[in-house]
């Protein structure tokens, strides 16, 4: 057992995890991207994964969603093995993803984007959910008739999260929500994530470059280097560690 998973087991709360990734290896062709990753996310947690560019953070996120699929190891969600499931079936199991680079639909209006988010539901509580995301992101209510592509970067990120929330997920996967955003907007978005977690008990798995903010927000964190989890612990613990500071917080993200 590697040092990483031992530490994870120590830090993780008791009980059955909502998402468990064990021994996952992912390849792009012959190139190995994940070299046996173990991690878990428990209900009601915010878990963050930090690491340098190319460490495999986004690959892990995508592997959870089944594209690309893990070649070895298993991923279980809510006790169910989802390793070999096609992407659209995984994302129908109350897992919602806000992918890297936001990927909103630029020519569709904000409303249409949100409708797309709810398209896997039976649309019966669309209005209710719409009200909820408009309360979370009042700016979207103002922009509802506007094309997604005309929104600012921060608004697009909010739209991406709102769109993911429209499917009423239990687990929200967020890939670099702070990408290319002003510090103030990042703060705002992280506050909303925190709010969703504390008020509604939403479980969040957050992949971030912005280590300081992410670790401050998260209950627990993992550090990924070269396709392997090398460290894990509570957010505070990781923030306090010298090697984490040296590798990810140098130059002061705060």
């Amino acid at each position: 057992m590697s040092e990483g998973s031992a530490a994870a087991a120590a830090a993780a709360p008791a009980g059955e995890p909502l998402l468990r990734v064990s021994g996952v290896k992912t390849y792009y062709g012959k190139i190995v991207a994940l070299r046996g990753v173990d991690m878990e996310v428990h209900p009601g947690e915010i878990v963050t994964l930090i690491g340098a560019n190319g460490a495999g953070k986004s690959t892990l996120m995508m592997t959870i969603c089944g594209s690309p699929q893990a070649r070895e190891g298993t991923i279980t969600y809510d006790g169910l093995d989802i390793t070999q499931m096609p992407t659209h079936e995984i994302t129908r199991m109350s897992i919602a993803q806000s992918p890297e680079g936001r990927r909103i639909f630029p020519r569709m209006t904000v409303m249409e984007n949100l409708q797309m988010g709810a398209s896997i539901t039976d649309m019966t509580h669309f209005d209710k959910d719409l009200k909820r995301v408009f309360e979370l992101f009042p700016i979207l209510a103002k922009r509802k008739g506007q094309r997604g592509g005309t929104l600012s970067g921060g608004e697009q990120q909010m739209l991406a999260i709102a769109r993911a929330l429209m499917s009423r997920p239990k687990l929200l996967l967020l890939d670099e929500p702070s990408l290319g955003l002003a510090p103030l907007v990042v703060k705002q978005i992280f506050e909303i994530i925190h709010e969703l977690n504390t008020n509604e008990g939403l479980t969040v798995f957050l992949v971030e470059q912005n280590a300081y903010h992410a670790l401050k927000l998260a209950h627990r964190g993992y550090v990924m280097v070269n396709g392997l989890i090398t460290m894990s612990g509570t957010g505070r613990e990781l923030l306090a560690r010298d090697d984490v500071k040296a590798a990810y917080l140098e130059g002061g993200a705060h």
Binding site: Q115, S119, T150
Partner: protein
């Protein structure tokens, strides 16, 4: 108070329009009023004061209307930038008037060739209406651009779009009504013999509109570049031809079957190419189109190969044939037999089929499947992250587009009575795709405009032979430079909102704003 203002404005507008009319009079006195004619013993001057009077009245009335309802200036002044614009638009109107008069008059076989001389008031009124519309549109366009005082960048373009918004609302309806009236207008003017050629052309244009709308589902909505669309057209045509040849089935029976078969082929093509995008997809679809054609060409025993299939039955109206017989259409309805009846019937059949295509597409856009197509065009990865089954979405787009291609093909077969693989070459795919791209991907009305211009223009300029290809090539290049996303590039949201926001496609690249 407001009465006073409006009265003074009325006066000023009146004066302003008067000046404009005077200028027009001065200009048109020589330009329109006089004309040299060859007569016995040299040239003679022909006077056409009626035309001058009409022009002046049109300018006066148009100017008045623009002052009162479009520009609404506090104090209309004649000598402004607008004057230049007005002059230009009058010029444009006159040129149009002249050209159309000259061209259509000759086509219509009026005697004397030009309507303005033949005292054919219907013609003159139509031409006038056309010229006035052209002048108003041109002036409104330029005037709006000036009014917003935003001569650079997308601001001016947006304000022009805003100015034309009401036009967009009524244009489809007007076009629809015109389409319904076309056979009667043509026959009224040109007689049943003279109109046949134009009705045939109208049928051809409608066929391409339908094909364009069908392909628009695949290319415009779902964003899957299909270079082999003609294959489904061919499948539809051959399905009907072969079913009628081997099983003696009629058009109406075969129409749905042809659609279903084409849809199946759409899925058969769609399945292996699901993982491909962009250029790779284009190449595979191109190959597929050619495979179908080559099979039709070489499977001699079954399809007749290059000899094609002839004697394809004509469509009937609830079993009534369009022939000379005692139970033919003409006899039953107490009309004198004329071959034009069938042409008119065919016209309405393809019109109905095209409208159904349009209607279905418009409805589908509002349904989850249609929205998924559009989302797929926008971003495939995002679609998958939202739980959309991209496989089924793509297949449904291919199948739906192919189905309409199949319907159109089966209509083509029944209209021609004879089909051969030669009708389904790559150039057909290219033309259909050009219609969709030039019209604006995903725009239904854009397809109509592009089809009318391309197919209609193609036929009208048949005399120019190979030069027309040159001209159309040039036209395409110009449109692609000027409007890279096609003539109509705005996308209408599928859910109504109180405030309409028309944003052109080129402004909404991700990350802007």
């Amino acid at each position: 108070m407001s009465d006073l203002v409006s009265e003074s404005r009325l006066k000023a507008s009146f004066k302003d329009s008067g000046i404009a009319a005077l200028i027009t009079l001065a200009l048109s006195f020589m330009l329109i009023g006089m004309r040299t004619e060859i007569s016995i013993g040299g040239l003679a001057v022909d006077y056409r004061w009626a035309a001058v009077a009409i022009t002046v009245v049109v300018v006066f009335a148009g100017r008045m209307l623009l002052n009162m309802y479009v520009w609404r200036p506090e104090t209309p002044r004649t000598v402004t930038f607008r004057t230049v614009l007005l002059g230009l638009s009058i010029l444009a109107a006159l040129v149009i008037f002249y050209l159309v008069d000259r061209f259509l008059g000759a086509v219509a076989g009026l005697s004397p060739a030009r309507a303005i001389e033949s005292n054919d008031w219907l013609w003159i009124l139509l031409l006038l209406a056309l010229a006035v519309v052209a002048a108003i549109v041109a002036t409104a366009l330029l005037g709006l651009a000036e009014k917003r005082a935003a001569p650079t960048g997308p601001g001016a373009a947006a304000s022009i779009k805003a100015g034309l918004a009401p036009l967009g609302k009524w244009l489809p309806l007007a076009l629809g009504l015109l389409a319904v009236a076309v056979p009667f207008i043509l026959i009224e003017w040109l007689g049943s013999r003279g109109s046949r050629q134009y009705l045939d052309l109208a049928i051809l244009v409608l066929t391409y509109i339908m094909l364009g709308w069908g392909l628009n589902i695949v290319v415009g909505l779902a964003g899957l570049l299909d270079l082999g669309y003609v294959a489904f057209y061919a499948v539809g045509a051959y399905s009907f031809a072969l079913l009628s040849q081997y099983f003696g089935l009629g058009f109406w029976m075969c129409l749905p079957l042809a659609g279903i078969l084409a849809a199946c082929w759409g899925m058969i093509l769609g399945y292996p190419v699901l993982r491909l995008r962009g250029d790779y997809l284009a190449i595979v679809t191109l190959a597929f189109g050619e495979i179908i054609r080559v099979i039709l060409l070489n499977w001699y025993d079954f399809t007749g190969g290059p000899d094609g299939i002839s004697g394809i039955p004509r469509p009937t109206l609830f079993g009534i044939e369009f022939d000379r017989g005692d139970d033919g259409f003409a006899a039953l309805f107490g009309l004198q037999y004329s071959s034009i009846h069938r042409i008119i019937f065919l016209y309405y059949v393809i019109l109905a089929m095209a409208l159904v295509t349009n209607f279905v597409t418009m409805r589908l856009r509002r349904l989850p499947v249609g929205r998924a197509w559009e989302a797929l065009r926008e971003d495939e990865i995002a679609c998958r992250s939202l739980g959309i089954n991209t496989t089924n979405t793509k297949l449904s787009a291919f199948a739906t587009g192919a189905m309409f291609g199949g319907f159109a093909g089966s209509f083509f077969a029944t209209r021609q009575g004879f089909i051969s693989p030669e009708s389904f070459t790559f150039i057909e795919s290219a033309v259909i795709l050009a219609i969709v791209v030039l019209g604006g991907l995903g725009s239904q009305i854009g397809v109509v405009i592009a089809a009318v211009v391309m197919i209609g223009g193609f036929e009208f300029f048949r005399d120019l032979q190979e030069y027309r290809m040159l001209v159309f090539g040039l036209l395409m290049v110009i449109i692609m430079v000027w409007k890279p996303r096609g003539l109509i590039s705005t996308r209408k949201p599928t859910i109504g909102l109180k405030r309409r926001t028309g944003i052109s496609a080129d402004m909404v690249q991700e990350g802007q704003g």
